[in-house]
Symmetry: D2
Subunit: 269 residues, 4 copies
């Protein structure tokens, strides 16, 4: 994308005048508020259409799956930020969201692109297994991690991934992407030399792409979901602050190995 060469000058999401706010073609106050859930509205905002039952069910399930997992780094960053800057809750939320990156929570999008690449190659003379094998090998050759597999705590299996696949089966929406996600899990011991279980960030794109969720919005799932979790943590931080306690413990875990003037003794107070 080159600066200055953009040809678009319109947006199709929302417009308003003094009495009416239109979102995706509908009157917000008259036709949406009180009629649709926040989950339905999120789908409508993204796609222009209300979700069907399986789409709603999988969107709710993925948002619930990824919203909260205790005092992870982004929650810590957020609570420490509120402790330091209580005047700006929005800043503490932003600090937490900034940790939805390629290593931790943003890997849902990377896994989606990985599956999409395998899906695209399947059929054109290649079986799903041949396509998956080729893509995994290319990732390995480029020293890229296979996104969506393995978890530092849930080593045997990620209970959220298993449950998401169950819900998709109940909803009747298991399709090509879930099949690819499972196939890769089966192939990994041979291709990378050790078993790695599908994690929640691998299951989310599989179940959502199977119901038509847009690939380019996949990173929005952990971001929106974690925002809900962060707000709960920031309410608790106001009531029972632990931001500075966590910070002291974190600092105490790290030693200083740089130079120092003679006789200097560092303190962690």
């Amino acid at each position: 994308m080159k600066i200055g060469s953009q040809a678009h000058t319109t947006s199709a999401i929302s417009a308003a005048n003094a009495t009416t706010i239109v979102v995706r073609g509908r009157d917000l106050a008259a036709d949406l508020m009180g009629s649709v859930s926040f989950t339905d509205y999120f789908w409508l905002l993204l796609t222009g259409e209300k979700p069907g039952p399986a789409q709603r069910r999988m969107l709710d399930a993925t948002l619930v799956a990824i919203a909260e997992h205790g005092l992870v780094p982004s929650v810590q960053a957020s609570r420490m930020t509120l402790a330091a800057a209580p005047e700006a809750l929005q800043g503490a939320v932003a600090a937490g969201i900034l940790g939805c990156g390629s290593v931790v929570l943003g890997s849902a999008e990377a896994a989606g692109r990985f599956y999409a690449e395998i899906a695209q190659r399947t059929g054109a003379g290649a079986s799903q297994e041949e396509a998956a094998t080729a893509v995994v090998r290319e990732y390995r050759a480029a020293k890229r991690a296979i996104p969506g597999y393995g978890h530092p705590m849930h080593k045997g299996a990620d209970p959220r991934a298993l449950r998401l696949f169950e819900i998709a089966a109940e909803a009747g929406s298991s399709g090509a992407y879930i099949a690819i996600a499972r196939l890769v899990e089966k192939l990994l011991p041979t291709l990378v030399g050790k078993p790695l279980s599908l994690n929640v960030s691998g299951a989310i794109p599989a179940v959502l792409l199977d119901v038509g969720f847009p690939l380019g919005a996949l990173k929005g799932i952990p971001i929106l979901a974690r925002t809900a979790g962060l707000i709960a943590h920031l309410l608790e931080e106001q009531q029972r602050p632990i931001g500075f306690v966590m910070s002291h413990a974190a600092a105490a875990a790290i030693g200083y190995d740089g130079k120092a003037p003679d006789g200097f003794e560092p303190s962690h107070e």
Copy 2:
């Protein structure tokens, strides 16, 4: 709050081990995923309890009300940030959330605190009208804006505020806070010299405090809701970029009135 003097060393939101993730006392995979909506889960995260029907309805209605209102400053900031830094969608969302401040979207919280002050003083020898009059006068004396009233576009009435009160009536949850919000609207022409209609940021805390939503999480409503809207805008920005087009128009609207070397002619290209 003084750094280092925090007495708390626990959190009550979530814990996990290799096979189970517990959130607010419930097994996430077994008891929440597939059973509760994202809206219900947000309420549970905040309060530790699942919402009742009126609570769910008002939480959905407020989130839908405030999620999207076109190309407002925070959406522009977010889309411009994605245009400049497409590698980090989380950064573009964060840039948008940082605009949920005291002037624009964060005023929902300020209005909640304003109503809570009036509610607290009502009863102890003061009628609701006396309490409201006193609090409005104190805000005016301190040159503080009355939060929750007036809107640059929806001057006659904010259709979202009207609709939120209708939904509360349908849900049977209209209570003291809605009464206070309406009373203040009635008193404002006398107290501040001009009529100002209740806006959406005034209606949100009124309907939510009436169903027991925690005061300290009110700012989380516009933040969570706008995150959904921002993600939709960022998906559109990927597909039909307008970030730099908006930036050029914004720059062209502002002249340069500083000094310059002789003969220098500024350009807006």
Copy 3:
């Protein structure tokens, strides 16, 4: 400030055309690059004028004083964010800057406003001591902390505050604001019941306001300075990552005291 009612349509900082970039009236490439230091340029950007010797000396001294103090909360938030999102160094810097708030680093601005209030009242029939006593009492009555005094680690005296006052004396720029800062330190044992030493966030505004630094940019001192420190920490985080180690230690310091299903044992792995 009401949305839509802004009367300004110009900026006086910078303009450009195809061959020339003008900043504060000067040709950037021809007259500034290679001629002025970054410190001088920061002063010029803020004020439109190049600094004199005392102004340069105090600006350098304050930026050096506050740029770095080890693994404080904002540095931890920043390094954890880079560990989670290594693709966006700008996001990790932003997460750190968001912690320059009213409690931790932003108090330099609050202290500046506190001194300015005392300065303004001095003279109009009130001695400096009477003005200082009145303002401190008003802060106490409003339950506001006195900004710029006391430090959790440097309890006896903050070595940076002492040194800033020495440098101001060397530069011949000690004036009314340093006098006020010292006077308040002397009065505090009587007014608040315990001695509290001036800290670096109290000394910074005193020495800078005495050389004409703009009050509204005081918060920019810790923000710009810490950005330099954060970049150094983020370079080290790339080379010797500790973000997740700190996060594990922080999480391990906090217990879970919410409900849980029977037999559940939390893990900190």
Copy 4:
């Protein structure tokens, strides 16, 4: 990088006790404050050593070169954020920094990695021209932009790039990286089919890598520099607000092309 597998538990940047703060082995108050400039201190923070004359001169020149260029997208995002959230200057700065991404300002780092790749291949049987040609061709084959060349406004030549090379010549520090940057500029018409002048984001890594600046901190140059520019803009925004004026102009430039209820007319008020 896998979560949980980090082996490092030390930092070498800073340590402190009640009376002394040590940074990079030196006593901050006694040996650095009042003695070193902010530019020198930034170099020391990054590398552990004070800069030599050419290092200081090039670091100052690059920071001055990139700090400010008018109402660019990140400045607009920052000023709009302050208008919406005046309580949190740190949030407005963060919103601006988040726009230092791969497309706009962060390209200094991408250009540095591009030159480093060419430098690494030069010598091992390949001339500089052969290495440059090969790397450019690989970028083109992978559909990656060549970072550091071309500018939407400064089409003929970027005056900052030319001046940085002049200053390097004056400082006697022109080396292999400047040679590579120039060589690529010469080769581009042949390799990509059109002439593209070196821009400031291409010149910054060339002059800094030639004086030993660390590759992994290159993105810190635009980030630190722009922070200074942003603070100046945010001071002006407090005094002469234009955030909402820019936002109105930006919104007015974009039409709505989605569906709407019959008879609806959008407004841009």
